[in-house]
Structure formats: structure tokens, C-alpha cells
């Protein structure tokens, strides 16, 4: 990553935990990448990229080169992203059909995807599409993004609304894909999935190691050196 982008991110106002988390996740995007951002928190990541950052945003409903989201009075009724937001184009955007869109994903042309999660296991298994008996809207494009993007990172709250850990030894919910997750960004920490399990990589400002351990449902490898703070 060029120092330029780092400097920019340093100037981003980090007014709250989620903003800090999405700003940190934005540094995951390397110039030249093709990136798909899932609905919700991941979509916010793009707000932290400078206007001349060289990246191609992909949406699975058939667009490469997503531009800014537009208010209703400026929206094009035929131009949405996969989450239904009215987006725009950039110079060099291209439209295509749904088969071609997933051809990009499955054939390895997607460098990075950022997704939400219900659960992530310490082996990198992801569950994010179904809670039996409660929530089963269908998997959409999630399986292919999770299984085939070259790098899959997760943006999620560290625990669910009831305070239960989302990071666990094993997922209990139906899986989206096995062993797909490389890294997890939460409001508390940046955690890598390693062959030995979860490894703490960075910690949020004002959060203690004990708090992270408490909120994590699996053992956590902690480096001997000082943890970077984001």
C-alpha cells in the first residue's frame, strides 16, 4: 500500500467504534484490487477510500465500477447494487448479466470480499445466511463470494445482540463455506484465522486484551510484542 493512502486514513475522523473499524478495514484494500463489499457494514468501507484510489468495486447483480450511492431524487431506477441501494457509475464502468458476474467470482477475478457474519470458526468456517426456524431468506450470492474470492474478510460486531460470541471453536449454524475466512474486523479487534486458530493482530483504542478474550468464544493467540492499536 502506498504511504499516500495510509496518510489519508490517518486523517479520517474516527468518531465511533464502527467508523474506526470500517476505516481500519479499508486499509485491507490494496491499489488495483477488484473488491465486492457485502450489505451493511462492508458497504461503509468505501467511504474511507480517497477519490483517486485505484480500485474496481464489483456488485453481483452485474456491474464493475460502482460509483457513489445517490439520493432518491438523483437515482437511476435501473441502477442498483446487490443490496438494493441506488448507486452510480464511474468512468469505465461496465454492465453484464448475472452469469458473467458470478463467472468473475468463481474464476478467481475477485481479489477481496468483505462480508458480514453470524458465526466464524477458528478454522475460518463462515455462517452468515441462515438461522434455522428464525431467519432463512436464502443464500443469494454469499456462498460463491465466500468460497471463491481470493481473500475473504469479515466485518462484524464481536458478539451478537445477546452478547454471545460470534467467534467460536465451531460454527453451530448452517455453513456458508468452510475454511474461507482470512481475517475478521470487529469493533474490538483485528483477528487473523491461522492454521493454529484465531490470532489477535490489532486491538481497538480503549479496549483491553481481557475484554477481547472475554468476548471471544475460542482461544486467542496473542503475540509477545506490543499489539498495534487502531
Amino acid at each position: 500500500m502506498s504511504p499516500n493512502w495510509v496518510k489519508f486514513l490517518g486523517n479520517t475522523p474516527l468518531s465511533n467504534a464502527k467508523n474506526r473499524m470500517t476505516a481500519r478495514a479499508a486499509r485491507e484494500i490494496v491499489p488495483g484490487m477488484v473488491v465486492n463489499l457485502g450489505i451493511g457494514l462492508p458497504t461503509k468501507v468505501v467511504d474511507h477510500l480517497p477519490s483517486d484510489f485505484p480500485v474496481c468495486l464489483h456488485t453481483e447483480n452485474g456491474l464493475t465500477g460502482i460509483g457513489p450511492t445517490l439520493p432518491p431524487d438523483q437515482a437511476n431506477r435501473n441502477l442498483i447494487d446487490a443490496g438494493g441501494a441506488y448507486v452510480s457509475t464511474v468512468p469505465g464502468s461496465a454492465f453484464f448479466d448475472s452469469a458473467t458476474s458470478f463467472a468473475m467470482v468463481r474464476s478467481g477475478r475477485l481479489d477481496l470480499t468483505m462480508l458480514g457474519a453470524f458465526e466464524v470458526s477458528s478454522q475460518g468456517d463462515l455462517a452468515n445466511w441462515k438461522i434455522p426456524g428464525k431467519f432463512s431468506p436464502g443464500v443469494g450470492g454469499g456462498i460463491e463470494l465466500a468460497q471463491r474470492a481470493r481473500r475473504v474478510v469479515i466485518l462484524t460486531t464481536h458478539t451478537d445482540r445477546a452478547g454471545n460470541p460470534k467467534l467460536k471453536d465451531e460454527c453451530t449454524l448452517p455453513l456458508t463455506a468452510r475454511g474461507c475466512v482470512s481475517r475478521i474486523f470487529t469493533e474490538m479487534a483485528v483477528i487473523d484465522v491461522t492454521p493454529k486458530g484465531f490470532a489477535l493482530a490489532e486491538i481497538a483504542e480503549g479496549v483491553s486484551l481481557a475484554e477481547v478474550r472475554e468476548a471471544t468464544g475460542a482461544s486467542l493467540i496473542v503475540p509477545d510484542s506490543t499489539l498495534p492499536v487502531f
Binding site: 447483480n61 452485474g62 446487490a82 454492465f95 431468506p137 443464500v139 468460497q147
Partner: protein
């Protein structure tokens, strides 16, 4: 030689759709959903339908009219997240729903349109979407047999058409439309504009008229095609 004329009255061609038909319906959210063809199908009332569509639109829009009118027995789809009404029908066993990974649904439809029997894919292996599917090894790796989908009818929304049935789509209203326009025995396209033969540039046509059986020009574009106010 000159190309045959396939312009038709929307009412007359929709009248061909009988009870029990399997129908592909284009669209991803509002863009590309053939709202007018759907409304006509509601008016004419064919029942016990199997719909193949990426999503179920939103409550009170698009295919949700067919659901509310009790015309749909089965839905092959990828995601119902924006239609709580459809999820309710599914949970109460009032419709049968088959979920596909989005890109796999696209491939299965394309396979039907391409006259091939199935595609072999490893998407979803290790998840519940793989359950019950035939497994074949390719290069020593297990793949699921994802069988081709064809329909009796396809309902397509195009931006422009000519009398031979050549179609163009705009922006993300393309999505599943060009795939479904290949994969049905009777392909019915509604177009915002039907232009004389020769006005669509041959290099810019998205669907050759060879795939299309009937094309009808829309008069006024109804409010259902407009930007959704949330």
C-alpha cells in the same frame, strides 16, 4: 430476405400461459422485472405456477402480486430477504421454495438456454445446498451436478427491442434477463421502446431475436418501475 416480425399484443401472448406452467421471470429487485407482464398474468389468473426468479421482489411489487393472488405453487430462487410476505408463505408451507446459490441459478438457466444437460460445480460442497445432489469427480475433485433449468415461458423486460425480438437492456436491469431469454420454450419480452429493424446496432444487441418469440411495446411506464422510496 428480411427478418420475421414478432410484435404482439401483450394480452394475447400472456393468454397462452396456462395453469401449471413453469415461468422464468427476469429482474433483480425492481430493475429488469417485467412488471407489466406480471400484472397481466395476475389479471388473467393462471394458477399452480412454478416461478423461477432471483428474488420475490418486495411486498406489493412485481411477483409478490402473483404470490398474493395465490397463483404460485413453487418458487425457485436465491434470496427472499426483501419480501417478508414471501418468507411467511414459505414458512407456512403455502409455497414450496427451492434456494439456489445465485450464480448457480444463473448457470443452470444458462445451461438450459445453451442446450447442455448440466454443469459440474464445487460451489456449496460441505453446505446444506449440496444435500441430495449427484456428485461426480472431475480431475479427482468432487463436483455437484447442477442440472439445466428450462421453462415453458420466460417473461423478459428489455429497454429497447426491434420487431424481430432483438433486445437491449440498460444498467443493472440486465441481470437474469438475457439468460432466461435463452431458456424457455416461449420467450415473451416487454420493451420500453420497440424501434424499427436496423435501429439497434448489431454489435450492441444483448439478446438476438432468434431466442425471442414475442415482443410487446409498453405504453406508459407504470409507477412500479420507479425508484423505490424507502
Amino acid at each position: 430476405m428480411m427478418l420475421p416480425d414478432k410484435t404482439a399484443q401483450l394480452e394475447e401472448v400472456v393468454a397462452r400461459i396456462g395453469d401449471g406452467a413453469t415461468i422464468m421471470v427476469g429482474g433483480f429487485g425492481v430493475p429488469g422485472t417485467p412488471m407489466t407482464l406480471i400484472q397481466e398474468l395476475v389479471r388473467q389468473g393462471a394458477r399452480d405456477l412454478t416461478l423461477i426468479k432471483n428474488d420475490a421482489n418486495e411486498p406489493g411489487m412485481g411477483v409478490d402480486h402473483l404470490l398474493r393472488n395465490g397463483q404460485v405453487a413453487r418458487l425457485i430462487t436465491t434470496h427472499l430477504g426483501l419480501n417478508t410476505h414471501a418468507i411467511g408463505l414459505m414458512n407456512n408451507d403455502q409455497i414450496k421454495v427451492e434456494f439456489n446459490a445465485q450464480g448457480i441459478l444463473a448457470e443452470r438457466i444458462r445451461a438450459g438456454g445453451a442446450g447442455i444437460g448440466a454443469v459440474l460445480s464445487d460451489i456449496g460442497i460441505g453446505t446444506e445446498l449440496a444435500e441430495g445432489k449427484q456428485v461426480v469427480e472431475v480431475d479427482g475433485k468432487p463436483h455437484l451436478v447442477e442440472t439445466a433449468l428450462r421453462a415453458d415461458f420466460a417473461l423478459i423486460h428489455a429497454d429497447r427491442a426491434d420487431p424481430f425480438g432483438n433486445l437491449t437492456y440498460v444498467a443493472t436491469a440486465r441481470n437474469f434477463n438475457p439468460l432466461m431469454a435463452m431458456a424457455a420454450d416461449c420467450v415473451i419480452a416487454e420493451a420500453e421502446t420497440v424501434t424499427p429493424l436496423g435501429e439497434l446496432e448489431a454489435d450492441a444487441v444483448h439478446t438476438s431475436g432468434v431466442f425471442v418469440d414475442h415482443v410487446a411495446e409498453l405504453g406508459e411506464i407504470s409507477g412500479e418501475y420507479a425508484v423505490v422510496q424507502r
